[in-house]
Symmetry: C2
Subunit: 410 residues, 2 copies
């Protein structure tokens, strides 16, 4: 098609939003109608060799992530759409050395925990949000789209099979980790959107990381390293946000810190803590009011975290008289000033992996901001209250629509 054949008014429309709309259309109309992702077509091939279920401590001690007996996979091809998903024994994937995801980071994922409740039931937390976000991430990284509800059903199907044995009723308060992943698999080195992809879902062990002794210690990002930028993809859960951050994180760890506090721009806006969202509780400058502050979503620098959003909702609904919630840009200089004035009360990282993890220190350009912790080295008051509510929903102490019960055979 010659450029002259293109309506000129489309030009102003070459924005991420417009492009994503077109992606959706192109995936949907393709000569014959390609198959949608359809959980009702799931086939089951159960393992003949179920592995022994390890103790949580043992499972998390090694260098390899331990997965459960089964996984779900679904193959997509541009011409035919989504093939029937398969539930089958967990095992290696076979990829050609030319596979798109190995070269061009055509990959995105999600992370959710599955909880064995104190009431004996199995729950996932707000899986609709993860499924919707995964669809968004897929579009951003030029991978195929799907109906989020179908992904949710596939996650539930896998948990129905592996949940009862791998997260048994005798282990209330335990959790496993669910990792839906979508990778570009076309064996093609041309730099282009892959015409083949594979969705897979696995369930694994993951260590508890929400209570490091002494609290989480953050090191601000190096002056010459930026995690995400306006016009980039910091808001999408794509592999490309993670690998490039490892260098700074590894160095911070070698020096005794847990994570990087990623700053952005000349003013040093606080964005994310490692791969988690970041919150500060302080006495607001001026009126001295207690405020819970976190970075906003509007410039698309940070992930729209499910835990982040839940913290905000809980604080607004249940701590209305105690703390005001503000989503706005705030800088490391504001934290330094608040620290000097003794106004910082608490801070925490929020995400699926770290859950709600109190932060005790931020090291910035040779200086420490020391942040109070609660009694017995636990989280402070506001952090603890939010964590308590969210945790109660996760583990079924409170019945709530966010805690979605997984059906199990008796």
């Amino acid at each position: 098609m010659a450029p002259s054949a293109v309506p000129q008014q489309q030009d102003v429309d070459l924005t991420a939003a417009a492009v994503q709309r077109k992606e959706a259309q192109s995936h949907a109309t393709n000569g014959t109608t390609p198959q949608e992702l359809d959980a009702s077509r799931l086939t089951y091939t159960l393992t003949s060799k179920p592995r022994p279920v390890p103790d949580e401590a043992v499972a998390n001690a090694g260098d390899e992530t331990v997965a459960t007996d089964h996984m779900v996979t679904a193959v997509w091809r541009a011409a035919s759409g989504w093939a029937a998903p398969e539930l089958k024994p967990y095992g290696p994937l076979s990829l050609m050395p030319t596979a798109s995801c190995l070269h061009y980071a055509t990959e995105c994922f999600e992370g959710l925990k599955v909880f064995r409740g104190h009431d004996g039931r199995l729950r996932v937390f707000r899986p609709d949000r993860n499924a919707a976000r995964m669809r968004m991430s897929a579009g951003r990284i030029s991978l195929p789209l799907f109906e989020p509800a179908e992904l949710e059903k596939l996650m539930v199907a896998l948990l129905t099979v592996d949940g009862p044995r791998w997260l048994p009723k005798e282990r209330p308060g335990n959790f496993l980790y669910l990792r839906p992943t979508l990778i570009g698999t076309q064996s093609q080195l041309g730099v282009q959107a892959p015409k083949e992809a594979m969705l897979y879902i696995i369930v694994t062990f993951m260590p508890r990381m929400d209570s490091p002794p002494g609290g989480m210690r953050l090191h601000t990002s190096p002056e010459d390293m930026v995690r995400a930028w306006v016009g980039g993809f910091g808001y999408a859960k794509v592999g490309a946000n993670y690998g490039p951050s490892l260098m700074a994180t590894q160095d911070a760890r070698r020096r005794g810190f847990h994570q990087i506090l990623w700053l952005y721009g000349e003013q040093g806006e606080c964005t994310e803590a490692g791969a988690s969202n970041f919150f500060v509780v302080w006495r607001r400058k001026g009126d001295g009011k207690r405020e819970l502050i976190t970075a906003p979503l509007d410039d698309k620098l940070i992930l729209d975290g499910v835990t982040r959003r839940s913290c905000i909702d809980v604080a607004r609904e249940r701590l209305a008289g105690e703390v005001e919630v503000t989503e706005r840009k705030y800088t490391i200089a504001e934290l330094v000033e608040a620290d000097a004035e003794g106004r910082i009360l608490e801070a925490f990282a929020a995400g699926t992996a770290y859950f709600i993890c109190p932060v005790s220190q931020i090291h910035h350009r040779g200086q420490d901001i020391n942040i109070p912790m609660g009694p017995e080295g636990k989280a402070g008051e506001v952090t603890s209250k939010i964590k308590g509510v969210v945790g109660d929903i996760m583990y079924g102490r409170e019945q709530h629509p966010w805690g979605v019960v997984i059906p199990e055979k008796e």
Copy 2:
């Protein structure tokens, strides 16, 4: 290690350069000395089923990249270092679903062409530069380092085996494509530098892309999309630079353009054309002198392309009286102005895949910049001269140190 145990003066040193030095040290000292990558330990397992060598047109017609009979792999583990590299039959890789590269884009690669010369000899072009860049990219994405010369030897070893049959002497002027790749393979979902990795080298067909009919047509990047940013990793050949760019590229292609001209910053600096470097030949404003201009490397936004560097060197050494070479930031507004004043003479994209490819049009915010081509729709004068010299070195019409001859058995 408590933060208090860390010398404070190190703080100012948490920059990319400092971190990379430390990465290098940490990979080098590890209790017992881990093995270095050592091409002299290469083992050979030749295929018992050599495939028929397809015609170039046939090989490039399909949706899958066709590779030669063999590949080289080398496995790295943090504790033991590099295992002996293996030359073995080309085939699928087996990766656990938890492999680092499938989630966190812990991957980098290189691209080189191997040429069957008109003198009958097999050559690669400046492989030392690709090998050195791959080591740099590996460090940036927290993958293991290696001596670049060893990677070069492994490439040569593979070509010595597959070159004679897959790029036969009866096909002078043909080329194949060499793709060294390094991926993080540790089966571990924790967001951390992988403790296991695999280097592999494959040789494939690739279509000729240096002479699209009518020249290459570029569309400037959407206002809300940025390829790379200061403090990012645009200078490294890591997967994370590619996947996120596909959305804009795909949309531009649907509208009849070949690639995106990636602009940066509020002024709209011209950076890269697709995944290639970008050059303009114009009459300089003011003195009217003929100038070859391209973006600079110093802010680390763009790839330090081997073809880019070769073009610059050739223009400086061989076209000294005819054109002045300038590496500086220049904006799309300068191009629009030069176009209005009739000062744009030529433009081209330069990279391994597209070689030196004349650009005939830049579409920006609803307006076209039309760029002259040479006679018969070929490249213009300066572009053609540079392309001629570099091509002559690649195909052995000129004996030059940049053209490294691959030894072949008679």
